[in-house]
Amino acid sequence: MKLALWTYEGPTHVGAMRVATAMRDVHYVLHAPQGDTYADLLFTMIERRNKRPPVTYTTFQARDLGGDTAELFKTALHEAHERFAPSLMLVGASCTAELIQDDPGGLASSMGLPVPVVALDLPSYQRKENFGAAETFYRIVRTLCPATATSRQPRAVPGPKAARRPSCNLLGATALGFRHRDDVKELRSLIAELGVELNVVAPWEATPADVARIPQADFNVVMVPEVAHTAAQWLKREHGMPFTQTIPIGVKATWAFIDEVCGLAGIELTQDQRDKLQGMARSEWYAKSVDSTYLTGKRVFVFGDASHAVAAARVAAHEFGFTVVGLGTYSREFAREVREAAAEFGVEPLITDDHLEVEDQVRALQPELVLGTQMERHIAKRLGVPCAVISAPMHVQDFPARHAPQMGFEGANVLFDTWVHPLMMGLEEHLLHMFREDFEFHGDAQASHLPATATPNTAVADKPAVEPNATPALAGAAAQVAAQVAAPATVHAAQAAAPITAPGWADDAQRELAKIPFFVRGKARRNTERYAVERGMSLITLETLYDAKAHYAS
């Protein structure tokens, strides 16, 4: 048993529902008690779908358990087939039905339905939502794309002189996926731009007949490894179809993805094509433009599903100039990839599905930006740290009305906007705080644009060392002294957790501290106190403050 206050992933059958709901002409009969229908509203409310998910729940009750729940399942399957007339049916059990072992697959095959039936065996007590989605998609592909004696032969790279244009499939997008709708659109147009034909998109809006056409393409583009990796591996083994490894999130990864696709398609881009694509990548220039200088070295903590977390960390470090201070995932299936990526940044990977552990980590690392899921957004909000959401689990806010992809060049533009915006907001908030204590603009002062009246401002002793009309950039420059005190490269959890008896502050040191801009003052205080504690000092003097600054700067 495991104590869970909250979970990042739902149960396996919700993963299966994400695949079924993404597709057309499919119906899923789920052996389940009443109450499991709550999953419907994830789709109708969070994703605002205008149709019920194509799922029938058998709704067995306690009094059925002694009787014939198998018969109940067969009736539900029969009626669902009659009513919805799908061309493919999925059958399976939710966690409770798994325990009563009615064997939905066996029951369904005994009924001789005139459509293919895919039996889903999704171990609810061991695995989770993404496994359920991956397994479901794989089972559907396996059923609809049977391998033949010749299909296993590796394929020749089509090349530019092939009789027809090279073609690929786009695999992995589901219902209730993080920006899957927009990423499909983005990659669809990118693939078209490269001159590669898009054969099938699946499971997203695919019919079973579409899925059956998957082997007609030359190769597969795996958009969501969490969903499509298992199926892509099988298609490689049984149909000789190679597949892409790069997730095109960020400008650099998008170029790597383009090169990978071109390699698999056997084509080369013209300079004109490259120039046109380059023109879409606005985020690259935005990151270079001087107003972005203040992004340099921002300490960022990244957590999410494996592919989004790894991609986000790379974009943060290599495209926006942040410093990755923490990287983690709840996707144990892809823990290896995340460990490798963490090694790139020299950080300890955090592989956990316990949000309390994530919260402890964020607290200890004191990042300046959190890139995470909705849960990390709440954690960051509690800790007063700016945050942007980069990954499922899904929330109604993750389905914006506008086109907001994560992938491709437009996706990179979206990342720049959505990550930098909270930092800007954070800075504005700090400035507001700072001026609140300013000699001229403090809370009791009259607004400066109003005609002066009798009350003169009384000078505030601890005025900050920043001109009141400083722009954010200037405030940043003035803060550099303090920032060096305030920004050690890493704060180790063990150290942060160590009990600290705060030493006292001498008056002059206290006054000097007050001159440090508000938004780094807290950190300067903590670092100086830690410096003092580590050296067994009981009083912090002016000299201690600057000793600490020099210590952390070196």
Partner: protein, 439 residues
């Protein structure tokens, strides 16, 4: 299953004895969902579901906003080691509870809540609760109930929880009034003030806000039931000698008046006082309903089963707002508790108990009602088909009982119409500035 059992025509069809009973897919929550409001009501209680990842996912989906807090509920997720017998389930429960209590030493009452999987594999939560109580009393009392979907529908979870509390209530010989059912604090306080003004007392409420201040019960206790889904709780209280006062439920000006009047008829002394205390409140509530009545009169409304509040709600919209209920679906129809409500329903209403959601949707779409009251799984799909809907869950989570909330309740039915009217494209004004007005 799924075969429609023919309408049971009983001797007097004018009394809504004809009830359509169907079995098939139910589109309802299980009893675990009650934890979402019960943990806010009983402020020192913790609810530990012994269940699966599905239970945990349901709770966090239903209680979306609780992500902002550290809520007083959690799930002990059963894993394959428990199922394979590699771990002793009772020891595992002890371990998880220990972990929990070290995090939350402030908890006075811990509910172990059974779920579908824990019921199917027959985890003995009674034994666990007894053992843990023995260890943790007097600091913390441990009780258990089942909120499983195989036994309970949505609000029945509260019934099961309150039933589990009944044996814990102290005994009394005093004549008192016990208001049964969780109400929003603001509503509860309004009622307590009214009872006070009426000179009715002592009055207690179940559930109480603190687990260490449970209300007393005894042979001279009279029960005034505030929620229609508490059949088991009432039965358990009756077994302790209490007697139920038959009454409507306190929804709307009329429903609230009759509810209070029922208590007055038992406890009241001064004959003029009821009119003096209740009269002005009732009038004010009725005035506040008038505007909504103008908007809602004659609208045809269809209730999908959800919380068992459907019958009193249909009575309210029909009698106080002039709406016309077509079908009133309810997960269970407890005739006993609804004895004062059923005769007030319009005669031509189709009452349905249980659910076969596909067939019910067929009936609904055939009748094209003006308003459908349904769960969140059905609302957007129906809206997409052009049907105006009201989420039934809001009727459970919003304070709707009592005089002061009567208009709020009416507004819940009126707002979908108002919204639709606002969004319905009236012709756009002509573009540009009118001539001669440019600067």
């Amino acid at each position: 299953v799924n075969a429609a059992i023919p309408i049971h025509a009983l001797p007097d069809p004018t009394c809504n004895d004809a009830v359509l009973k169907q079995r098939g897919q139910r589109e309802v929550f299980c009893g675990l969902t009650g934890i979402v409001w019960l943990h806010r009501k009983i402020q020192d209680a913790f609810f530990l579901v012994v269940g699966s990842r599905t239970c945990s996912h349901l709770l966090q989906s239903a209680a979306g906003v609780m992500i902002f807090a550290e809520p007083r509920f959690a799930t002990a997720i059963i894993d394959e080691r428990d199922l394979a017998g590699l771990a002793d389930v009772q020891e595992e429960i002890d371990r998880v509870v220990g972990q929990l209590m070290s995090r939350r030493p402030d908890i006075k009452l811990l509910f172990l809540v059974g779920s579908c999987p824990s019921e199917v594999i027959k985890i003995d939560l009674a034994r666990a609760a007894q053992r843990l109580s023995g260890k943790m009393l007097p600091r913390t009392r441990v009780l258990h109930y089942s909120g499983s979907g195989i036994e309970t529908t949505f609000t029945q979870g509260e019934d099961a929880c309150l039933s589990a509390l009944v044996p814990e209530l102290p005994s009394t010989d005093e004549a008192n009034l016990l208001v049964v059912g969780a109400l929003a604090d603001v509503v509860e306080d309004q009622f307590l003030r009214l009872f006070d003004e009426l000179g009715i007392g002592p009055v207690h409420v179940l559930p109480s806000r603190r687990a260490d201040a449970l209300p007393p019960v005894g042979p001279r206790t009279r029960l005034l039931v505030a929620q229609p889904f508490l059949a088991d709780t009432v039965r358990a209280l009756e077994a302790r000698g209490a007697k139920r006062i038959p009454a409507t439920f306190p929804l709307g000006a009329e429903g609230t008046t009759q509810w209070l009047k029922a208590a007055w008829d038992v406890f009241g002394q001064d004959a003029t006082r009821f009119a003096a205390v209740v009269g002005p409140r009732r009038e004010r509530a009725a005035r506040s309903l008038a505007r909504h009545r103008l908007d809602l009169q004659g609208k045809r409304v269809f209730f999908f089963p959800d919380s068992q509040l459907e019958v009193p709600l249909a009575r309210f919209v029909a009698r106080e707002l002039g709406m016309q209920p077509l079908e009133v679906g309810t997960p269970y129809l407890h005739r006993g508790l609804l004895d004062a409500e059923l005769p007030l329903l319009p005669r031509d209403v189709l009452l349905s108990e249980g659910q076969d959601v596909d067939r019910q949707l067929d009936r609904c779409l055939q009748q094209l009602p003006d308003l459908v009251v349904c769960g969140l799984g059905l609302a957007n799909p129906l809206e997409a088909q052009g049907i105006t809907t009201k989420w039934s869950i809001e009727l459970v989570f919003t304070p709707i009982q009592g005089f002061e909330q009567a208009a709020d309740l009416a507004a819940l039915f009126a707002r979908p119409f108002e919204r639709r009217a606002r969004l319905q494209a009236s012709a756009l004004p002509r573009h540009g500035f009118p001539e001669g007005q440019a600067a």
